[in-house]
Symmetry: C2
Subunit: 412 residues, 2 copies
């Protein structure tokens, strides 16, 4: 069993085929959840898994699985996977790498005709990136999704409903996609780091210790729309001023007082939005992250207070609409240990690190033991067409995943 | 002749009928150029003018005219008018008041069966507000529109082409709509002030001395899109930071060093525009105004330099795309004198003032003598559903317009 390795050529061919679905022509892909390209990628995954002789399953949240029965009847399943959706104009590695590595691991185990302590399931989770809600499929599997969240998703209610309809899914089934913990042996995910630390430390494998917590809000600064030629500067209640002052001071706050955290103004809309009208309304998409729960709470309090102050200083009203919150999540210690041992066995240099990005593992952590492997991102680029992981590192990551499955699944 | 006055009831009925076309339900109207509501307003104007026995004419720029032949053959025409388009979600007075007052003046002269030194033309100019280009119809009449401007309009080329198609207009005809100066006796426009000065000074009529100059630019700040969870704050090239810093410092610059000027960031788009992606690009719609030519030049230089500095301080590239420029324009002294005399004759308190807003008169100033009347805006509100001018002030303005036509047109 120790000599099993993945088939790099087959794995790479799959990777390149998948990267052409939603190809943006600049090295990236555009596959927002339930877009035409995303649905095409999922159709390709189903066909590929069936051609490989695996059993295909789609659950009520639209999660796509390829299943290998390789254990005695009644055994639980170890899930391996990631997601096939991308951010808008993102990269070809984020998510796709983990799904394809999972599929490849199943094929290698199938070809070796091994019996393990669990069945294997290569899973593509729905809407990890959050075009609609974020971690939608994994939250549904974990049974932690609520109707309130579905009523007010970060992408807007209509986008969610339209997307579900396009994918042929029912909203009610999302709430019923929860798995039985007794049937879950665990979840392992291979993912690109999306930051520069592995590269800086010349490590080949990142063993994820935990995932940072995150909160997102839609902030509405409200002032008064006025004629931009006839209204004196001093008489304006310009919503853009408050939103811009907040965007600058939130950055300063985090850099000075929360150096281990990050904040982002990802979108900003001024209304009515004409050259010659002072903006009466500014809609600001805010997100911030912290590695520990108490720091996330402190940051949340400080940042919302800052928004209140900036609004007040420009005579604006402010409204906060929570758009999602994920608590910081530690990975399972036994999973971390198995990953570390496997990397060592393969002669790969590994390091422990926190994940600044959110992942499906955080939704699943309450359901079963979870673990994650990172592989290096060139220059740390991510959520961008510049995203790149050297192919040898992709192979190292997939082999570490395979080795960990063997370590965990060995029939004693 | 001295006892002629406009028919307030008929004028008001027209005003209220017109305000229902594109009514936004909150006291305002939404009639962007060539929108369904705008085209409906123009259709109503044609029908109304025809029902009044006036000759209707539409030129190559889509300007709509109602013509009263009231002079000996071969005489030029005095144009009275304004515009029926509105800004997005604007008020019911801006533009509409001037067009309806012009129509009413023609009806009163027609009913009195007077002979003047010129024919009268009540004109509705196309796209004064600039959903597409700004002062489009009057610039075409003045022959100062260029293909280069049409190729790069502030609303984007496609919006212009789609709009022209909806209105049944040809682009080539825009360039051929120029009038012969010999056929132009002048242009007079009644308009709301769109600022608080008349109200503050308790004056009933504003005699416009000149129109401020204006320049608009689309600024593009370019940095790098990155993952908002895994990219350290210090490593970001966040386009939002540059755009927001500029929006704040442009306001400070104007308030401190150009107190007679104004500046506006009317729209701001961050791309790709997701909660979890550091914005790589920020598109900023900038407009600034100054009452004198040399100050407009100084302001332009200072403000673009400021944008360069702010971009540099956040390690961003910057690109400036000029989106329009209108020089400060004095009104014709003889027209101003005729307006002042007329207001005095009607017992109305008038004051001289500059216009902070742009108007079609500035495009026409090179073609013929131009003059403008302002009436008070309650609380100075404009480009907003809160826009309001008391009806007695609307009537005062229309009577001043009528009186001035009689003063200028009297056959000696």
């Amino acid at each position: 069993m120790t000599t099993l390795t993945i088939n790099s050529k087959r794995f790479q061919e799959d990777f390149e085929t998948l990267a052409r679905i939603g190809d943006t022509g600049d090295g990236g892909v555009h596959r927002p959840t339930f877009s035409e390209a995303h649905l095409a990628a999922r159709a390709w995954f189903r066909e590929r898994a069936e051609a490989d002789g695996l059993q295909v399953q789609v659950d009520g949240a639209g999660n796509h699985s390829a299943i290998l029965r390789c254990s005695p009847p009644g055994a639980p399943a170890l899930l391996l996977g990631s997601h096939l959706d991308s951010v808008s104009h993102g990269g070809r590695f984020d998510g796709a790498l983990g799904v394809l590595a999972a599929l490849e691991v199943l094929r290698v185990i199938q070809e070796a005709n091994l019996t393990l302590r669990f069945d294997l399931e290569a899973i593509d989770f729905t809407d990890e990136e959050g075009s609609l809600l974020g971690l939608l499929g994994s939250s549904a599997v974990a049974g932690i999704i609520s109707q309130a969240e579905l009523d007010n998703p970060r992408g807007g209610r209509q986008l969610l409903l339209d997307g579900l309809a396009r994918a042929g899914l029912q909203e009610a089934d999302l709430l019923n996609a929860k798995r039985d913990p007794a049937q879950m042996a665990g979840y392992l995910e291979l993912h690109i780091e999306q930051g520069p630390r592995l590269e800086q430390d010349r490590a080949q494998i990142g063993i994820v210790s935990g995932i940072v917590g995150l909160a997102s809000y839609l902030l509405t600064f409200s002032g008064r729309a006025d004629h931009a030629g006839t209204t004196a500067m001093k008489d304006r209640r310009d919503a853009a001023q408050g939103a811009c002052a907040f965007t600058l001071s939130a950055r300063r706050l985090v850099m000075e007082k929360f150096p281990e955290c990050v904040v982002n103004t990802g979108a900003l809309q001024l209304l009515p939005g004409a050259f010659n009208i002072v903006p009466g309304i500014a809609l600001l998409s805010l997100e911030f992250r912290a590695p520990e729960q108490d720091r996330l709470d402190e940051l949340e309090q400080a940042i919302l207070e800052l928004a209140r102050q900036e609004a007040e200083s420009f005579d604006l009203q402010i409204h906060f609409e929570p758009k999602g919150k994920h608590l910081p999540t530690p990975m399972n210690p036994l999973m971390q240990e198995a990953l570390r041992k496997s990397a060592k066995k393969l002669g790969l240099k590994s390091m422990e690190m926190a994940s600044g990005a959110g992942h499906d593992a955080q939704a699943l952590a309450g359901l079963c033991p979870v673990g994650m492997i990172f592989v290096p991102s060139v220059a740390g680029a991510s959520h961008s067409p510049r995203e790149l992981t050297r192919w040898r590192n992709c192979v190292n990551g997939a082999n570490t995943l395979l080795q960990t499955v063997l370590v965990l699944g060995k029939v004693k």
